[in-house]
């Protein structure tokens, strides 16, 4: 499943979303400097190398920052927006589900999963078990 940018016939963005549509959450790693990369791109933002591989991260992460977007119940109610630091290093925007938005706190250990949604699959997080 995991590939290199060099072997892909599509760009990084399309490949990421194709994999996500099949339920796979992949990130990238630079083969030149070993730095993990998210969001997906064509060259390494740390060293400029184009030698990039894809892999499935552990899904383990830590809440770096969080906010509750306030919405009236009739507009769908409050929801969480969070920045998650992945165990492998990169940061991504996501949402912590399974607890009230106000209960999401910086430093919480969370676990990624791919949520199936009509408008397209997305990566969300839930609080990690002890």
């Amino acid at each position: 499943m995991a590939q290199d940018n060099a072997t892909l016939t599509v760009g990084a963005e399309k490949y990421f979303h194709e994999q996500l549509a099949q339920g796979h959450f992949l990130i990238q790693r630079c083969k030149a400097c070993s730095t993990s990369i998210f969001f997906p791109r064509m060259i390494c933002p740390h060293c400029g190398s184009g030698d990039i591989e894809w892999y499935a991260p552990s899904g383990k992460g830590t809440v770096y920052a969080t906010t509750t977007v306030r919405k009236k119940p009739e507009a769908g109610g409050d929801y969480n927006v969070a920045l998650i630091d992945l165990e492998e290093g990169p940061r991504m925007m996501s949402r912590v589900e399974g607890i009230a938005p106000a209960e999401v706190k910086i430093g919480q250990k969370v676990q990624a999963s791919v949520k199936t949604a009509e408008e397209g699959n997305i990566v969300i997080f839930t609080v990690a078990g002890e």
Binding site: E13, H17, F38, F39, Y64, A65, T66, T67, T68, V69, R70, Y79, V81, A82, L83, R91, M92, M93, S94, R95, A102, I106, E119, G120, I122
Partner: protein, 390 residues
């Protein structure tokens, strides 16, 4: 990297604005042209004297072309760099270089928006932007754009440094107190810390009173070479330093949510000007949200990283405090038409001319102007001074 030869080589000799607050019945181009005409007249020039232009629009990517049509000019220097609200501070350096090289002799920098009263509603513009300027790794989570990004930065600053909602509220209250001394400001009713804390929460920890206004408005300024500025109608305001920095677009790409690229732009601008924060008499920073003022005062070196919350408290940046900040009332209480950067420059020029009436900072000689754009993305700093500071 820092060209000291350009220090003080150009001066702002005219400023003007139009349509502040509510410009019902006018297009954004029309109020921008009014502001431009006022800035040119303020400089004692005619529109035919303008041979350089810098402008940008939130929506129209080729905005400078109709602007040239409306103004009736044939410029030899054209800059339409669009990096959000800081654009009009960032426009300074290319304009200074063009003036210095002889490419042109008088540059008009201008902006206008009818964000408040336009018939195109802001939700529709927001949806169009998602297509025109996609952020495919953030949009699926529906952050309020740009508000939630600033809320995340505030949340992190509070966690890391113990900054409180009361500290954030101090910024809004100080801005309101300055606005109460500015007859042109939109919001002049009394505002207390409790009012801010008890107002409607939008994206935690930011309430509606931690957020800038949504207004109409246009602003413009005219820049010429320093030798020419000396003999013109107004007291010249010299550009002593200017620098622009961008480290990221998305908030999720920001390395540290408590540190902005203002550290880079500020350092270079201060070095070019040969002054330090302690020398500055008046500060105009882009306060789209209350956390901005705290972040920028830290990153520009007015206080240490993490101490911004305490620095703005006890009325320290309000009238009568230790450092006058956002003396027009800011984007929080004066005016905020989409991209506010031009208005901080106009206010700094007026302060250095000594023409601010009740809110005038006594003896102001040196000002720092700091513009922000996107979601803490683009940062542009300018140091302005009177003839005495050359």
């Amino acid at each position: 990297m820092i060209d000291k030869k350009l220090r003080g080589s150009a001066a702002i000799v005219g400023v003007g604005h139009a349509g502040l607050g509510d410009a019902t019945g006018f297009s954004e181009m029309e109020i921008m042209v009014q502001a431009a005409q006022r800035a040119v007249a303020d400089a004692g020039l005619t529109m035919q004297d303008i041979d350089g232009i810098a402008t940008a629009s939130v929506a129209a990517t080729m905005w400078v072309m109709p602007a040239i049509e409306h103004l009736g000019i044939r410029p030899t220097f054209i800059d339409s760099t669009m990096i959000g609200g800081s654009s009009f501070v960032a426009h300074l350096m290319p304009a200074i270089q063009a003036l210095e090289s002889g490419q042109c002799n008088a540059v008009l920098v201008c902006y206008g928006s009818t964000q408040r009263t336009s018939t195109v509603n802001r939700a529709a513009v927001g949806n169009m932007r998602k297509m025109m300027d996609p952020q495919p790794y953030e949009n699926p989570y529906n952050p309020l754009s740009p508000l939630s990004s600033y809320a995340l930065a505030a949340n992190r600053h509070m966690h890391q440094y113990g900054t409180t909602r009361e500290n954030l509220a101090e910024v809004a209250v100080a801005a309101r107190k300055w606005a109460q001394m500015n007859p042109e400001a939109s919001m002049r009713d009394p505002l207390s810390i409790e009012d801010v804390l008890n107002s409607k929460m939008v994206s935690d920890p930011l309430t509606v009173r931690d957020c800038c206004l949504v207004s109409d408005g246009a602003g413009a300024y005219v820049l010429v070479r320093a030798d020419r500025a000396k003999n013109m109608k107004q007291k010249p305001v010299y550009v002593l330093g200017n620098s622009t920095a961008i480290w990221n677009r998305q908030i999720s790409s920001m390395h540290d949510l408590t540190v902005t690229a203002a550290q880079q732009s500020g350092k270079i601008a201060f070095e070019m000007a040969g002054v330090k924060p302690a020398d500055i008499d008046v500060v105009e920073v882009y306060d789209a949200f209350t956390i901005n003022t705290i972040l920028f005062l830290e990153d520009l070196g007015f206080c240490k990283k993490g101490e911004g919350g305490a620095f703005v408290s006890n009325g320290n940046i309000a009238p009568g405090g230790i450092l006058p900040v956002n003396t027009n009332g800011g984007g929080l209480s004066c005016v905020h038409p989409g991209m506010y950067g031009i208005f901080i420059l106009i206010e700094a020029v007026r302060q250095l001319r000594g023409s601010c009436g009740e809110r005038q900072v006594d003896g102001a000689q040196l000002a720092v102007v700091h513009g922000n754009g996107g979601t803490l993305s683009s940062q542009a700093t300018a140091i302005l001074g009177t003839a005495e500071t050359l």
